[in-house]
Symmetry: C2
Subunit: 377 residues, 2 copies
């Protein structure tokens, strides 16, 4: 299911392959976020062209709209959204626990109001497994409780207990329902524990004893200092089996991702490249550029002349600035395409560096590269 290909001698970085019902995924991997069944602004064809290995769908959003029943009738999420590669579905726990109003948790599950129409909804560990079966994703994730940062130890302990109980129930429901029907479905659980090392360790060990196909590190990148995130990832990874994939949810900047790879994380997702792209900010080897800046008005160079993406092959910074300034959708498309190309390319380079044994050296070069302003001085 997961094969480790190579490990970096000077860090925890790993290169591997995750085998799914829709083909293999080379790790480390960055998964573009397709919350509502679309990676915002892009077609499936474009995602294939830029080398996306696996994409994310969100169970919360898809259950609310269009509904897992509709997607099941369409032949599953892959068929519905026209994507033939692997898909991971997030459980939606994060979204439910982000709702500000009308959310009530009990030992059995969580009741909440839809953000779309206010209708009353209920998620249980079992219903979330069933929904992901209906969606037919390649990797399903168990329902977990996600706490805000900071939360005190007593509150987090209760939450970890609940997360472990729910993980146990999820696994039972998952096993009762066979292997996912038409294709293999894998099940990942979520390590919680806030910023409390002991609780993180306990949660990881508890989940590992249940034996999932992979482990997700949740509840980070929610406002805690970088040092806390790093410590938590370290502690969790020390307690996860090396032969299983590790997925750090919602992280993050290119730098954060490279640091987490060094700590042994294999899988990532984040809305940053797509969201910043829609705002006109693009990633380059020399740092981020805000294309709305006046200095790009007559800059007729591509964003990055070495970038193979369509935006860089076809259009100038000046034109992209114009599109963003004018609020044109083509601008949102092109900068999204570029940013995802940047992230995916970075992951491919990281993997190559791990396999060649010089990941730490390569990472230092990426993180310490001078900014464009610096270069132009």
């Amino acid at each position: 299911m997961f094969q480790l290909i190579s490990q970096d001698p000077k860090s925890g970085a790993r290169a591997g392959v995750l085998n799914t019902g829709h083909g293999p995924v080379e790790t480390p991997v960055f998964m573009p976020v397709g919350t509502q069944g679309t990676v915002k602004t892009l077609t499936s064809e474009e995602l294939h062209q830029i080398g996306a290995g696996m994409i994310l769908g969100n169970t919360y959003h898809l259950v609310l709209r269009p509904g897992e029943g509709t997607i099941k009738k369409a032949g599953g999420l892959h068929q519905f959204i026209g994507w033939t590669g692997p898909i991971l579905t997030d459980s939606g726990g994060y979204q439910v626990f982000s709702l500000k109003v009308l959310r009530k948790i009990d030992p059995d599950g969580v009741t909440f109001a839809s953000h779309i129409d206010g209708s009353r909804r209920r998620f249980t560990p079992e219903s979330v497994i069933q929904a992901q079966r209906d969606l037919g994703s390649d990797v399903a994730v168990v329902l977990d409780e996600c706490l805000p940062y900071p939360s005190d130890a007593e509150r987090v302990r209760k939450s970890v207990d609940l997360t472990l109980q729910w993980a146990n129930r999820s696994l039972k429901a998952f096993r009762e329902k066979g292997d996912g029907g038409e294709h293999l479905q894998l099940l990942f659980s979520v390590v919680q524990g806030g910023a409390h090392p002991e609780l993180r360790r306990e949660c990881a060990r508890g989940l590992v004893s249940l034996d999932f196909d992979g482990y997700t590190i949740g509840g980070l990148s929610v406002g805690e200092p970088k040092g806390v995130m790093k410590t938590m990832v370290e502690i969790v990874n020390e307690n996860l089996p090396p032969e299983k994939p590790r997925y750090l949810m919602g992280v993050g900047t290119p730098e954060d991702i490279l640091e987490a790879i060094a700590l042994g994380v294999d899988m990532f997702d984040c809305v940053l490249p797509t969201r910043l792209g829609r705002n006109g900010t693009v990633f380059t080897p020399w740092g981020k550029l805000n294309l709305k800046n006046a200095r790009f008005k007559e800059d007729f160079r591509p964003i990055d002349e070495k970038c193979p993406c369509y935006a860089c092959r076809q259009y100038s910074r000046a034109y992209l600035k114009h599109l963003h300034q004018a609020g044109e959708i083509l601008g949102y498309r092109l900068t999204t395409l570029h940013n995802l190309t940047y992230y995916i390319h970075l992951m491919k380079e990281a993997r190559e560096a791990i396999i060649k044994g010089h990941f730490s050296y390569w990472k230092k070069g990426v993180i310490e590269a001078p900014t464009e302003n610096k270069m132009e001085e």
Copy 2:
């Protein structure tokens, strides 16, 4: 410059070729509208793929943002927006005269406030010619005064006089500036005259005596009854030389376009397919479908299974409905792509029917086709 290939024996319909500095354009032609230097939501590559022959840019919008100077420095509008096919630039007269506030016309030109930043701007016939030289479009259009419907004869008479004077000045400025520099630029004038047959005739004859490369019919599709539009197009076309191209601005529905082709019009533009596309309404041989309608929720057929566009090859009505319901940009892209494919394909079919001599028969079949609801009954 313009060659008539074929004329329909039973109507005024014509098939021709307009030769431009960026290649030939087969007529009748529908020009997708790229107001701000982008056909909303689409790339140049997609426009080529769906067979767009010529696209429109708007001088008013491009002069205000990013400015004709920037576009000139980029190497012209084609280079700036990455489109290698022909471009027609509208003069911006329609936009200026649509401004509700702060617009003052005098015999020399028109002063107005930018809708973007309120800055004071001035257009004269000469400045608009110069701007279109800088943009480097293949077809430029003279500055005209566009009146609301209805306007009384006295008001329209003054306006026709001004339009003729301005056309004369535009032509002088155009001829003084040579043939457009790097490539051939053509100049079209605009026939005005409101809903007054005599004034339409007078305007057409006056412009023809000046001898332009083509003639645009303006000031229609501004709220007048269909019969009035038809009568005005007829009168104007009777007074235009058959060997020059005729362009009916801002029209319209597929039916309106086919009727105008029958009256001898060669060129069209309209925001309808792109604007309706962004609202989730799509054109089919069986009429328009509003994909947001509940009946498409589990309709897993393509919009039109015979349509060659990417949206129809790859995605279902149910998915497109979902995307539009969720406000996703991919939805706007795909339905825009489909609608333009529909319009462009319709023009190609019209041309073929004209050449084969059965245009009127074919047109009747298109206009009288049963709607989808009717077919499903």
